[in-house]
């Protein structure tokens, strides 16, 4: 969708059109759900978080500032919703045992190698994980990521670099272990 088309839809949705809003977010829904699956404790929660995100976005669309990218604004709401949901769940049910597979594990297609996002989830904290996701999956700029996470640009840069190093090291060790297995 072109930015002019997006502007037209935003204007119509601000006037209350649900159809215009549905069309506006159609291109973001799957990406948002995939992102939310990595940040919640169950798939149902990810769906609830997506629903809350879109409802909140519709309700507060009048406060949307066009100087932001629409996706930036949407992800900001999604992160807040996921965080709120997680804090409630943590209080209610406590930490899940290691044996229970989370929604991310359930949604990853069977592959010969381990998915790097699973390693990232184990290695990185929530904020840095989100930063890496937004940078490499959603192609967002460092400035946009810092806006979404409410962090400074320098904090975002430093943590993206650290995360890259950690994931690089993990990737190299995986390659190394594969080699050793192959030649072992």
């Amino acid at each position: 969708m072109g930015s002019s088309g997006e502007k037209v839809l935003i204007a119509a949705a601000k006037r209350g059109s649900v159809d215009a809003f549905t069309e506006l977010v159609a291109g973001y829904r799957d990406g948002l759900l995939r992102f939310l699956v990595t940040r919640t404790l169950s798939f149902a929660d990810a769906e609830d978080a997506l629903q809350d995100t879109l409802i909140n976005a519709y309700r507060y669309l009048k406060s949307y500032d066009p100087k932001w990218r629409f996706s930036t604004w949407l992800y900001r709401i999604a992160i807040n919703n996921a965080a709120r949901l997680r804090s409630v769940e943590t209080i209610e049910i406590g930490d899940l045992s290691d044996e229970e597979a989370g929604p991310l594990e359930q949604c990853i297609a069977a592959a010969e190698r381990e998915n790097l996002w699973l390693s990232a989830k184990n290695l990185l904290n929530d904020e840095v994980y989100a930063a890496i996701w937004l940078r490499y999956v959603e192609d967002m700029s460092v400035r946009d990521i810092s806006t979404i996470l409410e962090r400074s640009v320098s904090w975002t840069k430093v943590n993206l670099l650290r995360a890259r190093r950690q994931l690089d090291a993990d990737l190299n060790s995986e390659v190394g272990s594969n080699k050793s297995n192959a030649y072992g």
């Binding site: 549905t22 759900l33 699956v37 997506l50 297609a109 592959a111 490499y136």
Partner: protein, 142 residues
């Protein structure tokens, strides 16, 4: 794109997630609900034109009353603080009829005569007072 970025992108694509039609319907229904809620709250806060007319007129009337009260207070004359009138007692004037003493006798004799006249006068006054008291008591029936 470096190796890590490529790998992160590929692995993200392996996360198989899509919004189901049921979720889609649920979200659409929630959005419709939010729209109705918003339109109801707007309608609740929106007031008819007559309300604004009435409130404007009330405001103007209140302002006029205020201005009038302020002006009335300004034109009201100051209350003069006057001292209560002092009751003046008038001294009753007696119609004295002085008589010239005729000093025909010796001074000692004249003095005795004057003293005798004073005693007589005193006696007469006493009798008059007694008469007045007896009359007052008889009027009261005592």
């Amino acid at each position: 794109m470096d190796n890590l970025a490529k790998r992160l992108r590929e692995d993200a694509d392996l996360i198989e997630v899509a919004v189901s039609p049921e979720l889609d319907d649920r979200i659409y229904a929630s959005l419709q609900g939010a729209r109705q809620e918003a339109s109801q709250s707007v309608a609740a806060t929106r007031r008819p034109a007559s309300f604004w007319w009435a409130s404007s007129l009330t405001g103007v009337a209140a302002a006029l009353v205020l201005v009038t009260i302020v002006n009335l207070n300004e034109s009201e004359p100051e209350i003069a603080v006057t001292e209560p009138p002092v009751q003046q007692f008038s001294i009753p004037r007696f119609n004295w009829k002085p008589e010239t003493a005729m000093l025909t006798e010796s001074l000692e004799q004249e003095l005795e005569d004057i003293q005798s006249d004073l005693k007589k006068a005193e006696q007469a006054v006493k009798e008059d007072f007694d008469d007045i008291g007896v009359r007052a008591l008889s009027e009261k029936g005592l």
